[in-house]
Amino acid sequence: MSAGSGGAPAGSAPAGGRDRVLGAVRAAVRRDPAEAAVRRAEIEARIAAREVHVRPPVEGDLTARFAEKVALVASTFAPVKGVDRVSKAVADYLDEHGLGREIVVTTDPLVEQVRWSNEFAVARRAADPDDRVSVTGAFAGIAETGTLVFVSDRRTPTTLNFLPETHVAVLARDRLVPHLEDVWERLRDERADSPRTVNFITGPSRTGDIELQLEIGAHGPRRLHVLLVDV
């Protein structure tokens, strides 16, 4: 008879769930208890080895590749020569879209260095439902796919990446990496503990759920603008 839930009794005791599931899995893989310790050491070694499998080559200028990929996913991109020019770059972008000067920002070291001009009203906190524009510091950018990476901590709340309609990401050029895998390497190097959330974001929010037509701005930001800053 097929393995299945069809005839299973309702409301089986959740407490016994662990033994039942793991027992069934052990039987299915024909686990020999005498060997389990050895096998466990093997999988620990495999995890520790962090072997990279297959990666498409990312050649040439990382910035050019990143900019090209960012454009392909309907984000916009501007290089910025120095942190002191970020305020102006953000102002220009907001003007382009008629968006005023109210922003909510992260307090990571890069964005903290920005000296916002007087016209800005700057809040430093997690997102509120009515926030229209966020400016957040990215942990990394990936040239392979034009992806931005954000990690949550007390300085960089996750909601700022999702609730406001317009998301301006600030990325230091030296945090641009070739591949997905490089992000994990950096995270392991730079953080003692893993963050609650790591967001890989590739373009503004979208859906194809109505007649398979692409529509930008489903539940997350409608606009994603990337400032790549020389530091």
Partner: protein, 474 residues
């Protein structure tokens, strides 16, 4: 939902008579196939990635017990909790308990196929909770009280007019008039309405595309951002996942991610790939206070121990549906349960029992295209053959063993439907069709033959196919 796969012939017949559905399916077929093709062609490493992914997953599955234990200990270490559910009732009961303990009233849900599989929504509602699906496609079918007709695009069968009418009806109590018919207007309306739900929900439930044993993380891959709002805003985050979703480490995840979006939608990366590890840290400004992972077996350990283990490599990308001529002829609802197309024709009998779904493995032309496009190299056609054989042994196959034949007859009238399909089945089926004449009296319920005359393929095509394959052509 209660599986209705035993009604496949009737439902297929009705689907074939539905011109609106036909249009929707044509659009889907063209979009998905073309986009995937472009994305795969642009990546010379695709075959090597596919091979690497198969090895990763096979290794993980042969050590699944150890990887699950590793995953569990990491979740616990990061402040989360793992729950184990042997079957669908246990999964539902556990999740209801967590919601009750949290004093929850409202639940927002990200898209989860295993959630559909265990019929979670109905159970939560019966337990008195308000459940809101937040993926736009899932939201639409929740309003329509239907099941997903595609694992990636659940509301693929719905027209914009139908969606507008659903919104008009369900949003009226919120004081909102009927939305406009434009795509942008409909999406904006859903965004507006669902925002309110995200902000008041007590519990967010998401699925998981992957579980990472290295760190105890769960991973979701989405385009809309609804999953992220579901797992960040509510106080409690519950992840429901099949036990087969584990990968050893982050590098393994990177490899499989390169295959997933390309195979599903033709993107290089979906917009949001989100890795969640435990609840919010004490200094964090947002994120859930509780993090629960409910690991569901529900037939998977049975697959693991038998000849269908390879099915557990499936990453639910939908490529096999998108390239299946039978799926494109009848749509997802004909399959009668949550999993559809070739992967559904294997999974459904294995989860709900062959006696309740024996039509599905028969509704296949064995053209082999699904296996060719599957990023995880799952041998779907040979699995379907095995299931047919099992069904036949149990005397389940008599009425419908010719279902695939009839399917093919229908497809032969519509070259566009099988243009993307390898020509393999054509010679054999053409020959059969010719010998028996037109498929005017196919062994299906009335719905089918009432609306379709099913002639054999035209002679020229048949001749060419026959010559190419030689007289041994099978």
């Amino acid at each position: 939902m209660i599986p209705e796969s035993h009604r496949f012939p009737d439902r297929a017949g009705l689907a074939l008579a539905d011109e609106g559905l036909r249009l929707a399916l044509d659009r889907a077929r063209q979009g998905f196939i073309g986009n995937r093709r472009k994305a795969v062609d642009a990546l010379p490493e695709f075959p090597a990635l596919r091979e690497a992914a198969r090895r990763i997953k096979d290794h993980t599955l042969s050590n699944l017990d150890l990887y699950l234990e590793r995953f569990e200990s990491q979740v616990t270490a990061s402040g989360g909790q793992v729950h184990w559910a042997a079957d669908a009732p246990a999964a539902r009961a556990r999740i209801i308990d967590i919601c009750r303990e949290a004093g929850a009233r409202t639940v927002t849900k990200g898209k989860s196929m295993v959630g559909e599989e265990v019929a979670l929504n109905e159970a939560l509602e019966e337990a008195g909770l308000e459940v809101v699906e937040t993926d736009l496609g899932e939201y639409i079918i929740q309003l329509a009280d239907e099941t997903p007709s595609h694992i990636v695009a659940p509301a693929i069968h719905k027209t914009r007019e139908e969606i507008r009418d659903l919104f008009a009806k369900h949003h009226a109590p919120l004081g909102l008039g009927p939305p406009g018919l434009g795509n942008a207007e409909l999406v904006a309306r859903a965004r507006e309405v669902l925002r309110r739900d995200f902000l008041r929900a007590d519990v967010g439930i998401t699925g998981a595309n992957f579980l990472i044993a290295e760190s105890g993380s769960t991973v979701i891959v989405t385009n809309e951002g609804n999953g992220d709002l579901s797992n960040t805003l509510p106080r409690v985050h519950i992840v429901i996942a099949g036990i087969e979703k584990v990968l050893p480490g982050y590098e393994d995840l990177c490899t499989v991610l390169r295959l997933l979006a390309r195979s599903a939608t033709g993107q290089e990366m979906s917009v949001y790939t989100t890795v969640s590890t435990g609840p919010r840290r004490s200094a964090d400004l947002d994120g859930p206070e509780e993090f629960h992972v409910v690991l569901v077996d529900n037939g998977r350990s049975g697959m693991l121990g038998g000849e269908f283990r390879e099915m557990l490599r499936c990453i639910r990308c939908g490529a096999c549906l998108n390239h299946c001529p039978v799926y494109h002829a009848v749509g997802g609802h004909a399959y009668g349960w949550v999993y559809t197309g070739p992967m559904g024709s294997v999974l459904t009998p294995l989860i709900v029992g062959l006696d309740r779904a024996h039509h599905l493995p028969n509704a296949c032309t064995l053209n082999g295209r699904c296996e060719q496009v599957c990023p995880m190299s799952i041998p779907l056609p040979s699995m379907l053959r095995k299931l047919r054989a099992r069904g036949f042994e149990r005397g389940l196959g008599t009425r419908t063993s010719r279902l695939g034949l009839a399917m093919w007859g229908f497809l032969a009238r519509r070259p566009a439907l099988y243009r993307p399909v390898a020509g393999a089945a054509m010679g054999v089926m053409g020959w059969l069709g010719r010998r028996r004449g037109a498929f005017r009296r196919v062994p299906l319920a009335g719905g089918w033959t009432a609306v379709r005359d099913l002639p054999a393929p035209e002679g020229e095509t048949f001749q060419r196919a026959w010559r190419r394959r030689g007289s041994g052509g099978r």
